[in-house]
C-alpha cells in the first residue's frame, strides 16, 4: 500500500517537474496565448500574483518587528542591577571613557565635569554594559 502511494507521488512530482520545465522553456507570448485560449485574463492573473507576492513580503517583514518585540520583552524581564560605585572612581572612569574612540554620544553635556552625581552613576553603569568601561580594571 505504502509503496503504491509513493510510486503515485513520484509520478505526480515528475509530471509537475515536466510542466514546470515546459513553462520555463515557453516564451512570454506562448504563455499569454495559452492563458487567452483557456479564457483567462493575463493582466488579472498577474495583478493577483503580484498582490500575493507583496502580501508575502510584508508578512515576512512583520516577522522582523515581531522578533524585535519578543527580544525586547525578553531583555526587559532580566532586571539590570546597577552597581553601587565610589563616585570618584566613576567620575575618573567616565572622564577617560568619554574620550574613547568610536563612542557615540548625543547628550546635554559632553564632559563628565558638567554631570550631576546621579548622571555620573547612570552613565558609568551604561558604559559598563556597553563594554566601554571594565569596572575591575578601573577599581585598581
Amino acid at each position: 500500500m505504502t509503496d503504491k502511494r509513493s510510486d503515485e507521488r513520484r509520478k505526480l512530482v515528475s509530471l509537475a517537474d515536466a510542466l514546470f520545465d515546459d513553462l520555463i522553456a515557453a516564451s512570454d507570448e506562448d504563455i499569454l496565448n495559452e492563458v487567452a485560449e483557456a479564457g483567462g485574463d493575463a493582466t488579472e492573473i498577474s495583478d493577483h500574483m503580484r498582490a500575493k507576492f507583496e502580501e508575502t513580503v510584508i508578512q515576512a517583514r512583520k516577522e522582523r518587528m515581531k522578533a524585535a518585540k519578543a527580544g525586547r520583552k525578553a531583555v526587559q524581564t532580566t532586571p539590570v542591577v546597577a552597581d553601587v560605585v565610589d563616585l570618584s572612581v566613576a567620575r575618573r572612569a567616565l572622564k577617560k571613557a568619554l574620550k574613547h574612540e568610536g563612542l557615540s554620544m548625543a547628550a546635554r553635556n559632553e564632559t563628565e565635569s558638567d554631570l550631576t552625581d546621579e548622571e555620573v552613576v547612570r552613565k558609568y553603569n551604561d558604559l559598563i554594559r556597553l563594554g566601554v568601561i571594565d569596572p575591575d580594571k578601573d577599581k585598581n
Binding site: 510584508i58 508578512q59 515576512a60 517583514r61 512583520k62 516577522e63 522582523r64 518587528m65 522578533a67 524585535a68 518585540k69 527580544g71 525586547r72 531583555v75 568619554l98 574613547h100 568610536g102 563612542l103 557615540s104 554620544m105 548625543a106 547628550a107 546635554r108 553635556n109 559632553e110 550631576t116 546621579e118 548622571e119 547612570r122 552613565k123 551604561d126 558604559l127 554594559r129 556597553l130 563594554g131 566601554v132
Partner: protein, 264 residues
Amino acid sequence: MKVVDPAERLLKSLGVTEPREIDLEDIAFDQGAEVRYCNLNGCEADILGYRDNAIISIDQNRGHRRKRFSIAHELGHWHYHRGKKLQCRVEEYQPNHKQLAERKANGYAASLLMPHYLVKPRARDHKKLTFNVIEQFSTEFNTSLSATAIRLVEADIWPCMLICHTRQGRKWFTQAPMFHNRWFPQEELDSQSSAFDAVFGQSEGDRFPQIIGADAWFDRTEARQYEVFEQAKRTGDNEALVLLTIKDNRMIEEEPERSGYKRW
C-alpha cells in the same frame, strides 16, 4: 535618482503598514538600542552607544508624545551620527533647527513618526487642511499637534503655511513648497488676526478657518488684492499656531511682474 528616506526605509523593512504599528521601543531594539525611562536633569533624552549597541535614556516625567518624539530623535542620531560625540538638547520640534545635526535628527524623527507613505494617502482624503484634520492625524499617529501640523503642511498637498507666534513675535514658520516663497510672513501679529486674541488674550483660537486680507500677514503691495483663510489655535501660554491657506490660486503662481503680467 530618488533619495530613499532612511527612516521610511526602516519602517518598510519592518512591515509597518499602519500608524499604530510604529512601536518605537521595538524599532529601537531592532536597531540595537535599548530605551530606558529615568529622571534626567535639564534634558529630555540622551543616547550613549558603542559599536552596534546603544542605550537611549528618556526623561520619564515628560508626556507620552514628547517621549515618543525624543526616542525617534535619538534614533536619528544613532542613524546619522554613530561614532560621534554631540552636544544635544532635544527641544520642541521646529522646522529648520539652527544646528545641522539636530535638524537631521529632527527630520529622521518626523519621518519615523509620520512617514509620508502613511501620511499622504490619508491626507489626500481631506480637501482642506484645518486644525480639526491636524488633530485627527495627531491622534492617529500619536504625535504632538505642532509636529503633526508641520509634517502635514510640508507634505505639499494643500497650499498652506504654518506660523507659530508668541508675544515676542513670530517664532518660526514653514510652508508647503507649492506656496510661493515670495510670501514671507510678517514678524509681528496684526491686530485684525484672530491669532492676536489667542496670543495676547484668552481666545483658544478659531473653530473654523476665517477669511482675512492677505496684507494682514504679508508686507507686499501685491498682498492687498488677495484674501487668505486663517485659523488660529492656542498651543500654550501666550503662544499660538496659525494656519494660512490661500484662497486665490494666483498667490501660488509666479510673481506677476516676473511672468510678464501687468502689475495691478
